[in-house]
Structures are given as C-alpha cells and as structure tokens.
Subunit: 480 residues, 2 copies
Amino acid sequence: MEEKLVKEIPPKSENLSQWYLEVIRRAELADYAPMKGMMVIRPAGYAIWENIQRLLDKRFKETGHVNAYFPLFIPESFLKKEAEHVEGFAPEVAWVTKGGSEELQEPLAVRPTSEAIICAMYSRWVRSWRDLPILINQWANVVRWEKVTRPFLRTTEFLWQEGHTVHATFEDAQEEVLRILNIYREFIENELAIKVYAGRKSEREKFAGALYTYTVEALMPDGKALQAGTSHNLGQNFSRAFEIRFEDRDQKLKYAWQTSWGVSTRLIGATVMVHGDDDGLVLPPKVAPHQVVVVPIYKAKDKERVLSFGEKLHGELKDKFRVVYDSREEYTPGWKFAEWELRGVPLRIEVGPRDIEKNQVVFVRRDTREKFSVPVQELTPRADEVLERIQRELFKRSEAFTLENTREARNYQELKEIIEEKRGFVVAPWCGREECELKVKEENKATIRLIPPEGENAEGKKCIVCGGPAKHIVYFARSY
Amino acid sequence: MEEKLVKEIPPKSENLSQWYLEVIRRAELADYAPMKGMMVIRPAGYAIWENIQRLLDKRFKETGHVNAYFPLFIPESFLKKEAEHVEGFAPEVAWVTKGGSEELQEPLAVRPTSEAIICAMYSRWVRSWRDLPILINQWANVVRWEKVTRPFLRTTEFLWQEGHTVHATFEDAQEEVLRILNIYREFIENELAIKVYAGRKSEREKFAGALYTYTVEALMPDGKALQAGTSHNLGQNFSRAFEIRFEDRDQKLKYAWQTSWGVSTRLIGATVMVHGDDDGLVLPPKVAPHQVVVVPIYKAKDKERVLSFGEKLHGELKDKFRVVYDSREEYTPGWKFAEWELRGVPLRIEVGPRDIEKNQVVFVRRDTREKFSVPVQELTPRADEVLERIQRELFKRSEAFTLENTREARNYQELKEIIEEKRGFVVAPWCGREECELKVKEENKATIRLIPPEGENAEGKKCIVCGGPAKHIVYFARSY
C-alpha cells in the first residue's frame, strides 16, 4: 500500500525528469520490462492509448482512410531498396536471423517503420489511375534499437499508427500530407489539450527517404520541444525504388506519388508531462480512462444510506461518462482522494450524509482543486460542463505557456542567451544552409524544430547565424 | 479489371482448398507477402477483424477485463523457465540475435505467445490477495515459424487477443476459464454465425504448460474440424516457475492460480469457409465490413433522378447500417452485382426508374439470392429485419450441417468408415490412454478434438479402440 502513496514524488518544477519517471510508475501507466529499453504499458496507460486510437481512427475514417495490416518482418534486401531510407534506419534495426532451428538465408528486419514492405505490396496492387488514391493506415508495433530510452517518449518497441498513401500527382500527395498534419494538430489540441506548432522540417531533420517532412511540435514544461507527429511527402522516391507505376488517364505509365505519417504512444508521455502536477497525473477529460470518480464518505451508522445513494449517482453518471464508483471498504476517503488524484481523474464527486440531506454532492476539480456543491438534479449537466471547462482550460494553460516561451531573437547572442537561460522556442531567420543549422546545434544543443507556413518566405531578413540573406524564419529549440 | 471477375473461382464443393485461396485473393481479404508464410491483411479483411475486435472487446470489458500491452521480445531464459512450455514452442520461435550493429548476448524470442513475459511482470505486481484477480487481455501480433501455411488459418505471423489472468484459488481460475470459453462459444455462434462444440482437450492435445485446455471447435464444409479458440487453466505451473506468490487473507504466502486464453485472425478464415459459396464470400451481417450496398440502375435519361434517389436512400440507411453507395460510373450494374457478391455484402438494394415511380426498392439477399420489392417508407425496418434473418439463417445452416455431420460410432470399424467416407465428428467412448488416442490418429489421421462436458463421465461404456473401460465420451475428427 505504501508504494502507492504520493508523498515521495519529487516536485515537478525541481526535477521534471525524475518527476516524470516516478509519476508513470506510481500511477501505473507503465513498468520497465526486464529487457533493455522495453516497457510494459499497464492498463491505466493502455486505456489512454485506446482513447487516442478511437478518436484518431474516427478522424482517419471520416477522411476516407481504411485500416490494414502488413507483416512485422522486412527482408534486408527490401530495406535497402531506397538508399536514404536504409541509411537512416539500419543502425537501429533488430534483426531476426533464425526461425525455429534454421538459420535464415536472408536476415529479416523487425519493422522500424513499414515503407519498404508496404511499397513492395503497392507495386503489385497499383495498375491504373482507377486504383488511386490508396489511403491505408495501420495500427502496429515497431522496434528501434535505441541507446537511451524513457517510458513512452523513446522505447525500443512502441505502438503507433502509420498511414501510407499513394496518389496520381504531387499535388494530391501534398494535399494529403497537409490534411493529415492538420488532423494531428487539431486532435492534439482538442483531445490532448496540448498546444502545438505545425510546420515543415529542414532537409537535415526530415525523414529518411522523404521529399518533405511536416511536423507538429509541443513544448514541455522544461522548455524542451517534443516532436508529437510527422507527415511525410515521399515524392517518387519509394515509387521509383519499388516500381510503383500506374497507367494514367492519358494512357502513359507514371510513377506514383506517396505519403506516410504517424503518431505513437509518445503522445501519452507528452500528455503526462504537459498537464501533470506535484500530486500526479492530470488527464484531459477527453482521453482520461476515468473522467469521474464517485467517493462515498460515511461513518458506520450512515453506511447503507450513503452507499446506496452513491450507487444511484454512479448509475446516472455511467450512461454519459467513464466513471468509477470507489466503494472499497479497506481504504479511507483520504487515501482514495490521493490515489485518484495520482491517477489524474479530472472530476471527483464526494457524497456524505449531510450532502444527502441537502440533496447535493460536492465536486472537486483535479486541475484547480476548486471545490463546490452541486444540486443532485443538476448532476449530469454540471458534470458535463465542468469536464468541458477542464478540457478547455488545460489547453489554454498549455497554449499560454507555449506562447510565453516562444521568443524572437534579434541576433545570435540573444538566441544563445534565450536557449541557455529560458529555453522554449526561439524564432529567427535562417539562410537555409546546413552549416548554420549545425553551428546552432553544436553551440546550443538546439535544432530547427520547424519552418512554420508563415516562415517559408523570409525576404529581406538576414540569417541569425551568418548574416547572409535569410530563406526562412524558423523555430529553434532543444528537444526530446 | 478482369482479375476481379468471379468466373474462374473453382466450385466450392469440388475443391474447398483451392476455392478458399481464390476467394480470399479475389475478394481482397489478404495477399501473400514476399516472405515465406507471411500475409498482408488487406482492408476488406482487416475490417472484419475490426468488427471481431470491437464485439469481443466489449464482452471482455463487460466481464471486468482490461487491456494492456507487453513487449514483443522474450529473452530465451524466460521462455525456458516453464519446461513444457519451452518444449512446446521452441521449435517454432523466430529469434532476434542482433540489435543495430551489436550481437545480443542473449537471443530474444519474438513472442509465439506471451505467458513467459507476462508472468515475469506478474511476479512483480502480485503481492497480496488485494491485488487479485488480475484480469488483463492484450491485442497483439505473434509469430510462429510454421512449415505449412494458409492465409488466416495458419500463418507465420498472426493477430490475436491473449488474456492472462491471476487468481487466488483453483476454483476462481477454473470459473474464469469456463466464463471465457462460454464467451467464445456465444460470440462465434451469435456474431460469426458458426456452430461450435465446446469442451476439454485431452492431455496430449492441451497447451504446452497448461493443466487443462478448453476449446471451441467448428466444422468446416469438407468435414474437417477447426480449433476456433482455446482457454487454458494454467494451474500453478507458471506461478511456480516465475514465483508469482501472494499473501492470502490467512497471512500465508501462496502460489497464484492462472489462466490464459485466445482467439485469432483464424476466425476470419473460418467465417469465409463456413459461409462462402461459388460466387465468393457470404458474410454474416454482424461482422460484414459493409452490411448493405445500394446500386442505382439507370439509362442516360433517368440518371440524375435515380442517382439522387439512391443518395437519399444511402443517407437514410447510413445512420443505422454499414452501407456503401456504389454510384461509380465506370462500371455496369451487372459488374457491380458480381463484385459485391464476391465481397459477400449480405444485402443488395437495387433502385431504378420504375422503382422510383412505385416508391419502392428491390432487396436481394446475398445468401439465398431471394429478391423482393420493399416500399421505401419501410426501408430501414425491413433492412434491419432482413439482416437479422440472414444472420439467424446462416447460423441455422451451420448448425444443421454440424449436427448432421456428428455421428456416433458403435465400434472401431464404424469410426474408420465414417472418418474415411463422411468425415465430420465421430462421437465415441475412450479409455483415456494415449495409446488408443494415437492409434486413431495414425490409422485415421483423426484426433480427439474435445471432451464435451456431458462426456466427462463414461461409466459403463467401453473404449472404442481397445474395448477397455471408457473414461470419457469424446469427439474425434480430422482437423486443420
């Protein structure tokens, strides 16, 4: 029992990294597996993932996508077909070399991402313009042999969705890439209540094998950026490598245009970090496994009365919300409060004998600790309203923090100072040369996180590093 | 286009095996991957799996289960902890021996099933009787290095759910095992419309590491049985191997009791085989990706009128059903009929100019080809009723076929003859000795598929093989 108590969580503001690990362990979101860099997603963590899946999958289907499932293993020769792709991923591939008792003639990569196997199938399925677009997504596990790992944020195996689409033209592919980027942004802001910036990656930071990579980037409380999702325009790189060609309306044989895009269980880590506090998780109502907990409070003589009243409330609430009724007798109300706070349930409803007499209940918000009475007849609409408000205010806080920590730098010295002293995003013009990008990285440990749409053109500005003519206005930051 | 035509599917009754492969390929349920024994589940197949997942997951959650996710890789030493378990699975394990550029000190098994890694975690999580029961399920991919494969029925990688539960007593574990067995039976019969027998496996046929294995067995059209799901009472075999102990209410430290249970994408294969016909798939409405297809039929002059009428029907139906409106102009109605029949859509609704005048539509059942007019104002309730009837009648047919092909044998000669000439299930008493079980297998290629609850006791009967006192009345059959 003591293991579950909140007391020993280090303050979030003092040591974010330690706080994060402790909260994840104590709230039972995940546990370390006995193999290097691997984790177990426990029920409390997986339930968040199920909500993420449900809410994202709905958006994918509404925009015409369907799900499929491709093999876990990719022959080495397939991975090698797209040169940049294999160069980018080979160092972090886990290899299967033995099946049963037989040594395999060709090693099989455990997929680090599925372009290579999916493109091999698409080259069979695509024949005519009538077959296009192909709009397929898959929910799957992938493996990347990482050196430094951290639960949810970077693990050897993780769960994700990866969309892989095929189009007749560059424009169709580009439209898809931006449609998905916008779904990611809207989903993360509205469901996870996390403010993100959306934009394009620099050449250096793009996906191995892509023409352009687009990204959504969130700001963590320690001022470091977190890449929350990416959407790639693959151009014709893979269609040329895998011979994905179609006969167009003009009867000419053409290479197809492709995209791929994904978000992962990393989003759970971002949600924990952005919203949590010193008492544990604070979960946005839209993805919280439990949105409401009802806790009965009573002395022996009132027991029956309070328990059956609580039961009634639970019965009413459960049609509309994900609600848990904590009527366990082996724990005190105070212990329950601490446990459900640790687990981040957005709304606690307390009910005791005096509340019954007044025909009311007590609401306690997890995020603000605000406490107020609500007449029983208004139970459902008020709970609905409070949950909506929590969701909205969590986003507002994230947005305010992100905007406060997005600063323009007028010169390189200022960039250095902001990164060193305040962190956050630094907005500045850049000439587009890798040399300047690398200098910022080496001297400040900060990379270009994105080029926002409004920063694509920087006419008349000067690069913050070399003073030469700027091509883009970009966001620099340290990152996870 | 010709590739999609139905013509060349061999008749189901002539060559079930060939028919099965062709239907799966043409209806685009799956395709072969370019690696031995691996398949791609295409959108039309994966949509069936999504329905299976949704309907089963609901049943698991209603009975108190939660989902989690455990690692894909299992260190060799963990797999070896339970002796029978490793003996059963080692021959079919795929081994990861290299991560990035480093050779691993200990090979990692790609999970063939997850008892070994899950039990390692449970040994950390279980401390007290208060922690029990643990009722966890996971939806995951698993890999078994199979020699002979067939899409959905036996593939190197497949998708499944695996439940792993921990209990304080044998009785609790046994109750769970039978609860799940009953969920499987009820789910397969009511949602997949396939009759199954439920019962216990013989010692020889049980899961590697289990105390008892329970199974649901379905009969395929060629008279061979198919194991459709299993539920294992693991006893204390794994808790002793992995040290899963808890302090009970009496303050004594005890080894826990465990279960595990699973069904897989194999269920898709069973559904295809049981219900399909010479024109392709016949899908039970409850799991069909599309339950209804609306096909407009018109000549040029009626085009606008018919298309907008069809649109209206589609709009009404889509609130209640999974419906597709096939208004493609590049295909004829006849071609569309054949395609949607191939794909197994249970109900086709045709609408032409004369139907509009009479304010009616034409319903065509996929299973019986029955064709009849329905007034537009009764559209939704009649569609609902027809789909319900199709679902019910598909099950009735499967049930009738299974019962007709379940025969009692009075002596060994009769058993031989039935298996050879008619196949199906042969019901007969058995002494319980492996010797007799093996004789039937070697001489007839038939195994004991199950011991039904009513066959546990066979007092007074004689073993059909040796004539000795019978212990059980069992079901023999050839199988997939």
